[in-house]
């Protein structure tokens, strides 16, 4: 029997309420698991792991001496979201995306939000990912973030909070799609009856989004996926998505610019490209504009973009929107651009660059989570309550040397979810990354990537830091 020893330890648990009663939307899966033996469950689990390895669904850990390719551990116990909860998230995320897109249009043209004193100019202009080169460049349909992966967490009361918006080149959606395949294989009879909304049309929606933002509203545009190449940690995903969409995957050297138009080299000669789904950072995109030493990009691409002959997704300079200082202003952006109150909450943020906040951070460093303003993947982060004295002091020095680059937040006790750990279910902390597409309309694939911190007590869910993932079910109903 499962869950007899299960303890929520006073955390918010996704499956069980505070009295240990199963939540209604988990009732069906509980009934499905109950008659299973531990051996049978183990068998299913191992079969899934093996299939991931065989398919080569791997990622790369940087700074790791032992071979770079790893499987992203998969936990068979799905995370389940009832209908009402999901439609609330959809409304909140849609609102947020609208505001972020309006912010980017504004900050790269009129800068009203600065001039009207909502966001200090210094925060924008000192942003590592604010691209002066992109000023006044018009983009088709005024969409800047076509693909966003927003990280959500739940606090100890179960409130959803936005932790960060990944507005540059979010990865992980291939795991979402593969996890679903794995679940269907593991529970072939149960799954079709469970009332789970499908996620399989993500690639089709993504292609629709790319086609919708083609220059001049061109019909049937040529789209390609631009990858930095097979050394990139997400190369598997690049291939996966290109294949699913039926578009070419290219590297910088496969593209060439002639007379402000971008062409792809093919066996039949040059073919013009209209939309580039780029999985390569701004810095490396065009050596004639950004880093001249970049071997990955396409010289001339930015001027082709300026001339309006090509579009890229996401746009250049979207990184200013997911700068962690700017994150703190998203609720103000929603009020400023949409005249609405934010639907989704987010985490209180202190700025090391402000005198009062700096003092507070220095005095409470061992009680705070400190993040570098522009790092992703769980790198460059301090979790005060879990850090050693030495780690805290090292961070203190780092913050002092570059205050603009750090923010601090109170630690949030992320919600927990039953997770298979060495022969039984135990509670582990989870987050949720839904994938939001902005095209003709904003669409969010029903589900998302639920990441789980497999280490007991750990709050860091990133794949590079020992995290795993779960399939995420959004139900047609509330139970």
């Amino acid at each position: 029997m499962f869950f007899e020893q299960y303890d929520t330890d006073h955390f918010f648990d996704e499956m069980f309420d505070a009295d240990g009663k199963v939540r209604p939307h988990y009732q069906a899966i509980l009934e499905r698991l109950t008659p299973l033996s531990i051996d049978k469950f183990e068998q299913k689990r191992q079969a899934v792991d093996l299939s991931f390895l065989r398919q080569g669904i791997t990622f790369t850990v940087y700074d790791d001496d032992e071979g770079t390719e790893k499987i992203f551990p998969f936990d068979l116990m799905p995370r389940i979201i009832p209908k009402t909860e999901w439609s609330f998230l959809e409304r909140g995320l849609t609102q947020r995306m609208q505001a972020l897109n309006m912010f980017l249009k504004d900050v790269y043209s009129k800068q009203r939000i600065i001039k009207e004193g909502i966001i200090p100019a210094s925060y924008i202009l000192s942003g590592k990912h604010f691209r002066r080169e992109f000023m006044n460049v018009k983009v088709p349909r005024d969409i800047y973030i076509h693909i966003c992966g927003t990280d959500l967490i739940r606090d100890d009361k179960g409130n959803y909070l936005v932790l960060e918006d990944n507005a540059r080149s979010p990865s992980g959606v291939s795991y979402l799609l593969e996890n679903r395949q794995a679940m269907k294989r593991a529970f072939p009879n149960f799954f079709p009856k469970a009332g789970v909304r499908p996620v399989e049309n993500y690639s089709e929606e993504l292609l629709n989004t790319l086609q919708y933002v083609a220059p001049y509203g061109k019909e049937d545009p040529v789209c390609v996926l631009l990858t930095p190449g097979h050394f990139n940690s997400a190369y598997f995903e690049h291939c996966f998505l290109a294949r699913q969409m039926g578009i070419e995957i290219v590297e910088g050297s496969d593209l060439v610019v002639r007379d402000y138009k971008v062409y792809m080299r093919t066996t039949q000669g040059l073919q013009q490209v209209d939309v580039i789904y780029r999985r390569i950072d701004d810095d490396f995109l065009d050596p004639s504009v950004f880093r001249p030493d970049s071997m990955l990009g396409v010289p001339g691409l930015v001027n082709a973009l300026r001339a309006g002959n090509v579009n890229i997704a996401n746009a250049i300079g979207t990184g200013i929107a997911d700068d962690k200082l700017i994150y703190a202003y998203v609720p103000d952006m929603i009020r400023f651009y949409l005249s609405e109150e934010p639907i989704l909450g987010q985490v209180e943020t202190f700025f090391a660059s402000e005198d009062d906040d700096f003092k507070y951070i220095m005095e409470n460093l061992d009680q705070l989570v400190v993040k570098s303003a522009n790092e992703a993947g769980g790198y460059g982060m301090l979790i005060g309550p879990k850090a050693s004295k030495q780690e805290v002091e090292d961070f203190r020095a780092l913050i002092k040397s570059d205050p603009r680059n750090f923010i601090a937040q109170p630690p949030i006790m992320l919600s927990r979810h039953p997770t298979w750990c060495d022969g039984d279910f135990e509670g582990r902390h989870v987050d949720l990354r839904p994938y939001i597409l902005s095209g003709e309309k904003t669409s969010i694939v029903p589900g998302g990537l639920t990441r789980v911190a497999l280490k007991k007590g750990s709050l860091v869910v990133n794949s590079s830091q020992g995290g795993g993932s779960k399939d995420t079910w959004v139900l047609y109903a509330d139970s």
């Binding site: 800068q111 600065i114 924008i124 002066r132 000023m135 010289p299 300026r306």
Partner: protein
């Protein structure tokens, strides 16, 4: 005063190069003090299409691309420009209090923060503070910093390269107009006075080749923001305010933002560059 300017840049490559992408900051500014009456850009040998745009600091940029292999490239910028005397009252006080909060304003932030070629450091702050001690007016502070550079630094062509960083210049106290402009910017920014780099030309009646008074060279100076007056040009190479003899091409955080010609190309060859400038009174 009315001038004709000819600025010819010729690159020669030992082996052919191709896919050359270039941005030119060669078109004189039109503003209250200057009017660019005509501008033409001629590019040889391939006469590519030129795309004009404004950069972040609203300078005009002319972009062109030369795709076919070539072993030389010539860019000839010709302009006719009229300069007007600055009639603003420079005797009004410029209180230091006027500098408060400028680092939060989008018009000044970039000219107060360190930039790629003007990295700020404690040595600049230390030196600047020492120079301006007792001076309680922003304009007088700027003039004190300029006079300091003029007095302490030696004009020495060849002592620095175009990439020499401002700390080296500051240590060796030698350089050319570009270096002096960078040092002055570093000193001003260190004491919270917005300062920006100006690239352009300077006309002198008695031109001496290779000296600081040379009509066949481009020039660089600085603009500082004086509360109550506005942006004012200062030339640390000559220790004076920029006047009708100064022709402005572009402004930026430092040299990198306003390079007259900047670009990349494919190919093995190192470029040899020859520049010929001629500023003449019309």
């Amino acid at each position: 005063m009315k001038f004709s300017v000819q600025h010819v840049t010729r690159y020669t490559y030992a082996n052919p190069v191709w896919e050359s992408f270039n941005d030119a900051h060669l078109c004189p500014v039109s503003d209250e003090l200057q009017c660019c009456e005509s501008f033409t850009l001629k590019i040889l040998p391939q006469e590519p299409r030129v795309l004009r745009r404004l950069d972040f600091y609203t300078n005009q940029v002319h972009h062109f691309e030369v795709m076919e292999p070539h072993d030389w490239l010539e860019v000839e910028a010709s302009s006719l420009v009229e300069t007007m005397p600055d009639t603003r009252d420079f005797t009004v006080p410029c209180p230091l209090a006027g500098l408060t909060g400028l680092d939060r304003d989008e018009r000044y932030y970039d000219f107060l923060a360190g930039s790629q070629r003007v990295l700020l450091g404690p040595m600049f702050e230390h030196e600047a503070t020492e120079i301006v001690t007792g001076v309680e007016d922003v304009r007088l502070r700027v003039e004190a910093l300029m006079a300091y550079i003029f007095r302490e630094f030696r004009y020495a062509p060849g002592s620095t390269q175009v990439e020499t960083d401002v700390i080296q210049v500051f240590k060796h106290k030698r350089g050319v107009c570009q270096d002096f402009a960078h040092v002055m910017i570093a000193l001003c920014r260190s004491i919270k006075i917005p300062a920006r780099y100006v690239s352009g030309y300077f006309y002198v009646e008695k031109s001496v080749s290779g000296s600081a008074d040379d009509n066949s060279a481009s020039h660089a100076w600085v603009e500082c923001f004086l509360p109550g007056i506005g942006w004012v040009g200062y030339d640390p190479t000559h220790n004076r305010r920029a006047d009708v003899r100064y022709i402005k091409l572009a402004i930026g955080r430092d040299y990198v933002d306003v390079r007259p010609l900047a670009g990349t190309y494919r190919g093995e060859a190192v470029a040899e560059m020859e520049v010929a400038v001629q500023v003449a009174l019309v």
